[in-house]
Amino acid sequence: MTTYTNPDKTGRYGTFGGRFVPELLMPALIELEKAYEDAVADPAFKEELNKYLAEYVGRETPLFHAKNLSEQLGGPDIYLKREDLNHTGAHKINNALGQALLTLRMGKKKVVAETGAGQHGVATATACALLGLECVIFMGDEDIRRQKLNVFRMELLGAKVHGVSSGSATLKDAVNEAMRYWVSNVEDTHYILGTAAGPHPFPYIVRELQAVIGTEAKKQIIEQTGKLPDAVVACLGGGSNAIGMFYPFIDDSSVKIYGVEAGGHGIETNEHAATLVAGETGILHGTLTRLLQDDDGQIREAVSISAGLDYPGIGPEHSHLQEIGRVQYDSITDEEALEAFQLLSQTEGIIPALESSHAVAFTLKLAKKMKKGETIVVCLSGRGDKDVEQVKARLEGK
């Protein structure tokens, strides 16, 4: 059996990936690659990161058997990997903390980051507050409107939040501005990219820092059920919680892996964020991947109720996993995600993030095709506190 070894030295996952950035940034990417290699080889780095993950973030996060939901569906047993129980409320802190420690190793004192739903921004601002780094966050004006609470949290944590009004004023545009800021301040600033996308080595570093999700989940499901799961499920915008969950299972051929994109108003309406399901190959934000674009190569705006998923690109590793058929990608509409949001709240007392609700909604469908005794592990990537106001307005028809 071949073992999955991506990426190669050029940052390629099959044909995807690479480094499509201005020359100004190349030395910084090479420096980052080197810094990460050095860090991985240094037991002190791992020890420090693990200490923070355990004592500050609250790892390991539980794997919870959602009995009520499983019984209601009458099929397989559903297990939730509770990344929502992390400090700051989402998986994003795993990556932000790791990269903040790398920032210190590189001797840099400032950090820039982009954020969609605000979870990555909050996680980055948190890690920066903890480690004494200056922090600048770019966030689309539309997302600022949707996620006011997270903006306040970032500011409370000492970060400077800059609104971005260009384009769709969402995550894509925040990434553009963060990259521009990085281009202008690269000498003393590290860009903590929030997802497993962007130029090499970001997709690789983010995967490695998020793989803790799948590694723990694998150990926990075996402890609880005595076997590997039959399926794992995660939602994806850029794809960091998904790749973190999937990666440790890639070589386990008996495990079916499913990635769930935001179908927005429906794939057929063209108003969605389903990059892998309905996108094309292209180059955005430094990486060759699948993306949403028009006939002229202009990037199309992604649409989703979930601020964290409406990104028109995707991490290159997911494009590769789709191409080789290892992971199946599907999409869930806003309406389906809203139903799952309510269902999980009512059956298990867990209010999931709208992002994670996409994964839950897909699991409800998947469960109908599976048998009793089989198991599904779902990554509950974040909690829904940040979304309740928006969901309330939507449900009240505002």
Binding site: T10, G18, R19, F20, V21, P22, E23, L24, L25, M26, P27, A28, S166, G167, K172, N176, M179, R180, V183, S184, N185, V186, E187, E280, T281, G282, I283, L284, H285, G286, L288, Q293, D295, D296, G297, Q298, I299
Partner: protein, 265 residues
């Protein structure tokens, strides 16, 4: 005009004792969209430009500052398509009076089809290409097609580049070497780093093609200052702004005041 002819055209200007001045314009920006392209190129040629850098709009231009970013959005709102730019260039009654160098991001090229794109460049009289998000590590994606169609792949050197990278970029560059003269995006700057002269002179010493400074060059004084260390300058945001404000006279003055005779220095 081929890659070699582009370099030769620039050298001919330099041999006359004149520094190079390459204005940047955004294709499809302004009244009439791409239909004004021929007029603008002819205007710039008459004003004394050595060549023109023609921007192709892209929705997500991460190397550009607000002025060029907004020009790109105006152009897209005017309905500019890559094909419409090619068509406009092909409608020149005779070939362009000055060399045309495209500047665009990699995705529009990739989407159009790399081979088709460079073939179309060749038949449209485009002689060079600048792709700011294509570092040398990735240039194999387009370089064979550039070579086949004799389109110069202009490399960009940055102030953050290491000595090894700078020397490799200088060795590889075709047509000219684009010296990015700020650590940042395109757009006007009040001043440049104090070591800018050393950086440009170093590039000039090792490069076998002309060296032009670009990014953040906004007025004739800066153009003359930076031009004194290399072969000339590229001015983008100021030209784009002046066209947008319909101040063509100021463009003419800027070019004429920037292009200084070496003999008079």
């Amino acid at each position: 005009m081929s890659s070699k002819e582009l370099e030769q055209a620039l050298r001919n200007t330099l041999n006359r004792g004149t520094k190079l001045f390459i204005p940047y314009i955004m294709a499809g920006d302004g009244e009439g969209g791409v239909s004004n392209l021929e007029n603008r190129i002819r205007f710039l040629a008459e004003a004394g430009a050595s060549a023109v850098e023609l921007g192709i709009p892209f929705s997500d231009p991460v190397a550009d500052g607000p002025t060029i970013q907004e020009a790109g959005l105006r152009s897209l709102a005017n309905g500019t398509k890559l094909q419409s730019v090619f068509d406009a260039l092909q409608q020149f009654k005779e070939k362009s009076p000055i060399p045309i160098i495209f500047m665009t991001y990699i995705n529009p090229i990739f989407k159009y089809g790399i081979d088709a794109f460079f073939e179309e460049c060749a038949t449209s009289g485009v002689s060079g290409i600048i792709i700011p998000d294509l570092p040398m590590e990735e240039e194999q994606l387009v370089h064979p097609a550039c070579k086949r169609n004799s389109i110069a792949l202009v490399r960009l050197a940055a102030m953050t580049s290491t000595k090894e990278r700078i020397s490799e970029l200088a060795k590889r560059s075709e047509g000219f070497l684009y010296a990015v003269s700020v650590t940042g995006t395109t757009g006007a700057r009040a001043e440049h780093a104090s070591n800018i002269g050393d950086y440009l002179q170093e590039l000039k010493e090792i490069s076998t093609v002309p060296v032009l400074a670009g990014f953040g060059v906004s007025d004739a004084d800066q153009a003359k200052h930076l031009g004194s260390f290399c072969d000339g300058v590229i001015v983008g945001s100021t030209i784009v702004r002046l066209f947008n404000e319909e101040k063509e006279d100021e463009i003419k003055q800027l070019i004429q005041n920037s292009v200084i005779c070496e003999t008079s220095v």
